[in-house]
């Protein structure tokens, strides 16, 4: 059974149909990439799934539970964590505190020592262990993206939803990041739904790819199938 399933999700903003009848499924333990040209509706789909807003119609089923229209905090506590395309760190809080916020809401009964240890562990996972006492506003863009991943991991999720975490990295760093995310998935037994523009990374990391175009699912397949499909090429490059 799929961990996350979207059934005929539609969302319109005024006259703009951002998503129409989107069907998709994410199987447990897989890395699924969500790609598509700019304005295809990828982030809108994320928002509709993670509770930032209600879809206009359709249903979202997560871990066997209908979560359609549930607020973001409830959805998070059920085990779904997301990052934001434009990072949203708690700027005036330290890196460690940023992650502690996630951890205390996941484990409200645990003592502070456990929370701190848990948060520290996530921080060193993304290589920011040296920065734990630094306020998040001092981080650079790449570090902020990593902090955001660590913060999402701080909620101890079943499903990790990443929104373009590779922006600003060079080729070698992208390769490392792909390794990192695959290892993370194996180690923490995660499922990953990943919006990404960097096709090289998608090719390496994803087991399945969902292609969105103009608010509709264009196709679903393996990375290899997707990049060789004329419809996808056309969606990206035009006629």
């Amino acid at each position: 059974m799929a961990l996350l399933e979207g059934r005929k999700i539609s969302k319109s903003f005024g006259g703009v149909q951002a998503l129409s009848q989107v069907d998709f499924a994410v199987d447990p333990g897989t890395i699924v990439a969500l790609i598509g040209p700019n304005g295809a509706g990828k982030t809108t789909l994320f928002n509709a799934v993670a509770g930032a807003f209600k879809p206009s119609s359709g249903r979202v089923v997560f871990d066997g539970r209908d979560i359609t229209g549930q607020p973001a905090d409830t959805v998070c506590r059920l085990g779904m964590a997301r990052t934001f395309q434009v990072t949203r760190p708690f700027a005036a809080m330290t890196c460690l505190e940023n992650i502690m916020v996630a951890a205390i809401n996941r484990y409200p009964q645990k003592p502070r020592s456990f929370i701190e240890g848990f948060a520290r562990e996530k921080l060193s996972l993304v290589g920011l262990a040296d920065m734990e006492r630094l306020e998040a506003r001092h981080l650079n863009v790449v570090q902020k993206k990593r902090l955001e991943m660590a913060r999402a991991l701080g909620t101890d999720p079943k499903l990790l939803m990443l929104d373009e975490v590779l922006g600003g990295l060079n080729t070698q760093e992208i390769h490392q990041a792909v390794e990192f995310i695959r290892n993370l998935r194996d180690k923490l037994k995660l499922t990953v739904l990943w919006i990404e523009h960097v096709m090289g990374a998608v090719m390496q990391a994803a087991e399945r790819v969902i292609v969105l175009d103009q608010g509709k699912v264009l196709m679903v397949g393996t990375p290899h199938e997707v990049v060789n499909d004329p419809r996808v090429i056309q969606a990206y490059l035009g006629e």
Binding site: A52, R82, F90, M93, N105, V126, G127, V142, Q176, A177
Partner: protein, 318 residues
């Protein structure tokens, strides 16, 4: 600063505060008592504005609710002022809960405007309900003790301030405090991490209102006269200026601000109404040149350990 060191320093300050009024005359004692009232007001307002980002203009109104509730009960029904103060605190908490819930989905300027309207409505009611409140004449209320003694009042206010500050300190350093700050920093991100944003905001509002009600009740029974000056915008902006000038969002800032401004206010009292102008100017200068207040200014010039730039892999292997 480690917890132990902080505890030691605050114990020393507290001991100092205990002996401070002994050698002083009645007037400086009065200034200190009023300062302690403002410490409670500014610190609890800071919980709202500094820690959860809710700039409420209804905080003085909550103090007024506490003062009038307890004052009316004591003056009209002969209820013991201590019981009255407790009831006033509960009433302020309940009204805070209601107002907080009403402003639930409002953020930023809308919350400020709603609380501003609330405080104006309350002010009008108090001025016009002459039979109950004696309007602008002020309501004479009984003292907390049989024989009026400034020094005893000082210790009562000091104990109250210590109580309020320790509750605030514990809250700020608990999980709740982390949630408060997360909500203030980025509501949307906090929500996405499982923070119950609305609950957190209403809780902060209720607690802060209760504290203002408590402080107001004590203040009224100290002045022996409860007037519409307590739930006034003047007092509200005074509290705001203290918090901003001291350092919003820090624990110590509002305490410093309350003492500094109240003592300054006494010094420049000779200029009459112009002293408000002086405050405005100070607040302006502080906001422009030291946005984190006096405390922020001190931190800025304190040398901090530079953080080394560490060359590392973009993503380590877990």
């Amino acid at each position: 600063m480690t917890g132990k060191k902080a505890l030691l320093i605050s114990m020393l300050i507290l001991a100092g505060m205990c002996v401070l009024p002994l050698g002083l005359g009645i007037y400086p004692q009065h200034v200190l008592i009023v300062s302690l009232f403002y410490v409670m007001m500014a610190s609890s307002w800071n919980l709202l504005a500094g820690y959860t980002g809710q700039v409420s203009f209804g905080h003085a109104a909550m103090a007024g609710i506490g003062a009038y509730a307890s004052g009316i009960l004591a003056a009209k029904a002969g209820i013991n002022p201590w019981i009255g103060i407790c009831l006033g605190t509960v009433l302020a908490a309940l009204i805070g809960l209601g107002l907080g819930a009403l402003c639930l989905k409002m953020g930023g300027i809308y919350l400020s405007l709603t609380t501003l309207a609330f405080s104006q409505i309350l002010h009008i009611i108090i001025v016009n309900e002459y039979d109950l409140t004696r309007g602008t004449m002020g309501l004479q209320v009984p003292s907390l003790m049989a024989e009026y003694d400034k020094l005893v009042y000082y210790y009562i206010m000091l104990a109250a301030a210590v109580l309020i500050l320790s509750i605030l300190y514990r809250m700020i350093h608990s999980n709740l405090g982390l949630n408060f700050r997360a909500v203030q920093n980025d509501e949307l991100a906090a929500k996405s991490l499982g923070v119950r944003v609305l609950q957190v905001r209403v809780l902060a509002f209720t607690v802060a209102s209760a504290m203002a009600g408590f402080a107001g009740g004590l203040y009224g029974h100290y002045l022996l006269l409860v007037t519409p000056e307590i739930p006034s915008l003047d007092l509200q902006f005074y509290v705001l200026a203290m918090t901003v000038i001291g350092g919003m969002g820090s624990f110590i800032g509002p305490i410093i601000g309350a003492f500094a401004l109240n003592i300054l206010a006494e010094k420049i009292r000779d200029y009459g109404e112009y002293h408000v102008l002086v405050f405005g100017l100070i607040a302006l200068v502080v906001a422009r040149f030291a946005p984190n207040g006096l405390l922020g200014l001190w931190k800025k010039f304190k040398p901090i350990k530079p953080i080394q730039a560490v060359k590392q892999k973009a993503f380590p292997t877990p």
